[in-house]
């Protein structure tokens, strides 16, 4: 790579694929005819693939490739069977490696991680014992598209295992054999998931799942509940680390030896053992770091700071995902959006200079044509076809009225099938299409696109969900399921017969963003939006910007927080695109995505504002402890109080005893979630105390140490410095008694089994994070909070910073407790998502909206029921000069829910795509 930010030139090597992507139709003949079988790395080597292969069924691009290391012709010069049989002549053995030079403004590195290879541990016998698998192997064993089609069988004898054990922290939190001293931060949760999902795969009452763990780290949103559910469902959690795995009886299964907390050695037999392997940096990381001249940390993850979590040390080179540190999917997704935001701010002047808008051919007018329906029945690999007889469904579809063309597909959603559908539409003059496959929620946009490409109106497609609503729920009764699939197809055909083309409206987008909350998250979002060129408003409830960060000494990586906050405030206050309203709250909101109107109160004066989207960064606060003598002694304090009063002024004496109690009020019925940040905070504070005065005694009383990810290094450092960690359970909580002026803490050490009495000079309570009351905001925006009071994201994995209300985004602690660097990531991610919305001057509206018919007589029954306030009553003059009332709908506000339609007694208001004719036809077809 050469050049500087804004103008890099990068040389790329493209490996030969030996198959022409334009000609390949993914028919699979090459793989069928290929004589060379090799281990399928996608299925972790459990099954075989051919040398001509696709990675997986739903692969993108869905084009075959030839593996040059395995192909008989390419390695030994003879064969070419695939070439002979390929129906489109796509095989090209002359394909050569090519180099391209591309010119880009910014580079984003997201090469991911390498799953840890446990074969270096001989005691676990991964390479030796068939029934010892890694968690990723197990993931493939469970998967419906995996080597066993989702039938869970153990490798040694292909029988269903009944008793399965998971061993945590394989290749994580370990010096031994590997230098992976970090926590991989995802294994605890995926092990619980696998244990829970296992129960769905196996039958019988004698199944049991056991998880051997060191600390159970369920530190994300809703994770603790998931853990509790697992315990309720009878999954056994044992705090131990099995040290030896031997072959089981007859060579099948395993025999495991471990020591319980009481010190007893136990030999237990299991049908199968799963090693919960960690995430480590791959060799690619080192190569990329060299090529792009960026720094890596001690574990070969990309080095970043707490305040610039996606920026490498080289300007214009951004890093994201598991390349930066081991992390789960939601944080990877948020970080990726954050990197996109950083790229967008760096290149804001050049936005849109190199892109083109997609255009579709003019849709043909079908109003005069008789319905000609094409039906495409999907097998979804085996997802549908192993329950529903898809051929029978297709044959049945041929008998339905107006159906002129029917076809079966293995994956109707694949890229090549889209071309096929377009081709069939043209060839058979189809004007309506029924897809019998999965849910329109995920796949309807794809098929609409295909129709548009084929010069049809995008809304002339109807989906029959024969997977989620049929194959998945009627697995035990294939015959009736097939019958039901036929009913579903008949209903879809009946409905689409009465459908007519719809058009999508356009809406001008107000390119101003409102940010609610002036903490670090809010300010980071604001700065990113403003740097992208958008007009930005910040509402802050108090009279100062900075939020919780004002109370923090240093970030988790050790950087002092206050200078960063000061600098951020300076940038905000001097930025020409940002207006800050302090002592302000949002009072009312109307409108919808792209065009919101609101009124705010600034210093008790009311003011009107308008904006296109909003980012909610309202933060959260520290909980007030209700136990352990809080409030009864001046030296019993919370984290923030201790930071502010003791740490800052260095008040501790060299021979003091400082006791930390973790999970105060957290992970208990009244606050059943983990606050994520307290463990690291306590450990960091303990290290600071110990380094300042080594003679100081620090005790940390904990339930599970949750120093996830790279923070594990602090836990290790603290132990090396002599910080004493004592674990307690909910039924053996520490007791705090006040004797005159002394604080006494009593706890039983579970390892030595002896009750301890600690005279504490300071008692610090890790009291957790509580959500602010957001009733007003949620009622204004009609958005939702979870049962703990934190704002809900649209999807916990894939849309972590979007909210379910279009045009709203969230970031920071209002979503869930998180440290500063993660808040900054989320804040940037929200700015990226909002930037996507606001960067377009016009927004296409959905076509499924309510519309008013001539039958409306203005009775206004629908006004009260509309949950979106999208209907108004208006006076009109009819052709005969009569003045009457009738309703009108606002298509930007209408969500097409149809409540008005259901309420109207005279078909005066209906919803496009669900008119009375269409629904009548569908219902009659169901009854037929």
């Amino acid at each position: 790579m050469e050049g500087d930010v804004g103008n890099f030139s990068v040389k790329i090597k493209q490996k030969p694929r030996y198959i022409d992507m334009d000609k390949c139709i993914a028919c699979g003949v090459c793989a069928e005819k290929c004589p060379k079988k090799v281990d399928d790395e996608f299925n972790m080597g459990i099954s075989k693939r051919k040398a001509a292969y696709i990675k997986y069924g739903q692969s993108v691009p869905l084009k075959y490739a030839i593996d040059p290391d395995q192909c008989i012709y390419l390695t030994r010069g003879k064969c070419r069977a695939c070439e002979k049989f390929c129906p489109t002549g796509a095989i090209n053995f002359d394909d050569k490696e090519r180099t391209h030079t591309i010119h880009v403004g910014v580079v984003i590195l997201a090469p991911g991680f390498k799953p840890f290879d446990p074969s270096i541990y001989d005691v676990y016998g991964y390479a030796r014992l068939k029934d010892v698998v890694t968690s990723l192997d197990y993931e493939r064993l469970l998967s419906a598209s995996g080597p066993n089609m989702g039938h869970l069988i153990r490798p040694s004898d292909n029988r269903e295992p009944k008793k399965i054990a998971w061993i945590q922290c394989i290749g994580s939190r370990s010096h031994n054999r590997c230098d992976n001293t970090f926590c991989s931060s995802v294994c605890c949760m995926y092990a619980i998931k696998q244990a829970l999902v296992t129960a769905e795969h196996l039958s019988g009452n004698d199944i049991s799942q056991t998880i051997f763990f060191m600390d159970l780290r369920s530190h994300g949103k809703d994770f603790e509940r998931y853990y509790n559910t697992a315990m309720e469902k009878g999954i056994r959690f044992i705090r131990a680390r099995p040290h030896t795995i031997d072959p089981g009886k007859d060579g099948n299964g395993v025999s495991m030896r471990y020591i319980t907390e009481l010190g007893e050695t136990v030999d237990e037999a299991f049908d199968m053992a799963v090693l919960s392997i960690g995430l480590e940096a791959s060799q690619d990381s080192i190569f990329l770091a060299k090529t792009f001249n960026i720094d890596l940390d001690a574990h070969h993850f990309a080095a970043t700071t707490s305040f610039t979590p996606v920026e490498s040390n080289r300007a214009g080179v951004l890093v994201t995902g598991a390349f930066q540190a081991p992390k789960a999917i939601p944080r990877s997704v948020a970080q990726a959006s954050a990197a996109a935001a950083s790229a967008a701010t760096l290149l804001s002047d050049a936005r849109g200079t190199l892109t083109k808008t997609k255009t579709y051919p003019q849709a043909t007018d079908i109003s005069e044509q008789a319905p000609a329906i094409g039906v495409f029945v999907c097998a979804c690999g085996i997802n549908i076809s192993n329950v529903v007889d898809v051929n029978a469904v297709a044959n049945y579809a041929k008998t339905l009225p107006h159906v002129v063309y029917v076809e079966n597909n293995l994956f109707t959603c694949s890229a090549d099938t889209q071309e096929l559908i377009a081709e069939k539409i043209k060839k058979n003059n189809l004007n309506r299409v029924v897809i019998a496959a999965c849910t329109p929620r995920t796949h309807e946009p794809l098929f609409q696109e295909t129709l548009k490409e084929a010069s049809l109106n995008g809304f002339m497609v109807e989906m029959a969900n024969i997977r989620n609503q049929n194959a998945w729920v009627h697995q035990s009764d294939p015959e009736k399921a097939t019958q039901k699939a036929m009913d579903q197809v008949r209903m879809a055909v009946a409905k689409i017969t009465f459908s007519s083309p719809l058009s999508q409206g356009k809406l001008k987008v107000n390119q101003r963003v409102l940010i609610i909350g002036g903490g670090v998250s809010g300010m980071t979002s604001a700065l990113s939006m403003a740097d992208q060129g958008f007009d930005t408003l910040i509402l802050e409830k108090t009279d100062t910007l900075g939020g919780n960060a004002r109370a923090l000494e240093c970030a988790f990586k050790g950087e002092p927080v206050q200078p960063m906050v000061e600098q951020l405030i300076d940038q905000i206050e001097s930025h020409e695109n940002i207006t800050v309203y302090k002592q302000s709250t949002l009072e009312s909101v109307s409108g919808s995505v792209g065009n919101f109107n609101g009124s705010i109160s600034v210093n008790n004066a009311s003011m009107d504002i308008d904006f296109g989207g909003a980012i909610l960064t309202t933060g959260a606060g520290e909980a007030i402890p209700q136990s352990y003598g809080y409030g009864e002694h001046s030296h019993i304090m919370t984290h923030l109080e201790f930071d502010r009063e003791v740490m800052k002024n260095q008040k501790t004496e060299p021979n003091d005893n400082v006791v930390f109690i973790q999970c105060v009020g957290s992970r208990e019925p009244e606050r059943p979630y983990c606050s994520r940040i307290c463990c690291v905070h306590s450990v960091k504070t303990a290290i600071a105390l110990k380094t300042r005065t080594p003679d100081i005694q620090v005790f940390i009383l904990y339930r599970d140490m949750r120093t996830y990810g790279v923070w594990e290094q602090y836990y290790q450092q603290a132990r090396e410095l002599g910080v004493i960690f004592i674990r307690y359970d909910l039924d053996s909580k520490p007791k705090v008694t006040l004797k005159q002026k002394e604080i006494q803490v009593n706890i039983t050490d579970p390892i030595i089994g002896i009750p301890l009495e600690i005279q504490a000079d300071y008692l610090v309570l890790a009291s957790g994070v509580v959500a602010h009351d957001s009733d007003k905001l949620t009622s204004l925006f009609k958005c939702s909070v979870d049962s703990d009071g934190f704002l809900n994201e649209a999807h916990p994995k894939l849309r972590p910073v979007d909210m379910s209300v279009n045009g709203l985004f969230l970031a920071g602690m209002c979503n869930y407790p998180k440290p500063l660097d993660e808040s900054i990531e989320q804040a940037k991610a929200a700015a990226s998502r909002a930037g996507v919305l606001l960067s377009r001057e016009y927004m296409e509206l959905d076509a499924i909206k309510s519309f008013v018919t001539d039958k409306c007589d203005g009775c206004a029954l629908c006004l009260d029921v509309c949950p979106y306030d999208a209907i108004f009553l208006k006076e009109i003059t009819t052709e005969t000069g009569e003045v009457t009332k009738r309703v009108v709908t606002d298509s930007a506000l209408c969500k097409g829910c149809g409540i008005c339609f259901a309420t109207c007694p005279k078909e005066g208001i209906m919803v496009h795509g669900f008119t009375m004719d269409e629904l009548k036809a569908q219902v009659s077809a169901a009854m037929a």
Binding site: V60, G105, L136, I329, V333, A336, S337, S839
Partner: protein
Amino acid sequence: MFVFKVGKLAQMLNVHRNTITNWIKTEKLKATPAAAKQYTIPTREFMSFCREENIPDNVCQSILKHAPGTGHVPVIEEAKGKLKIPKNRFKPEKKLGSVMVVGGGIAGIQATLDLADAGYYVYMIEKTAGIGGAMAQLDKTFPTNDCSM
């Protein structure tokens, strides 16, 4: 005081005449216009300019000796190739509206989609034959048990 003509100095330094004009415009070369398209610059200023631009002393001296403002000027061979001045040095650098994303896993895909939707041209580089990364290999995702695919 050193007197020179733009074209002549350009010839001696083996750069384009516009480069010299730009230097003067941006005050990199602190010369003042004089009569007959000539420029004057204090000798010391010119020498410090040469030092900053890594022009060897002997070249600088011979330029001063030949005083390119007047009469015939020989091309100074030593100056050739010594002055590595990027072509667009004084143009404001134009930023490109394109981004390269290395890796087609869930992080790479999300970054790509966001940027493409916001109006940037994205090149995605993936090592294997298809995108999807590790997430495509997973069966279900916690804590909602959604299908990973």
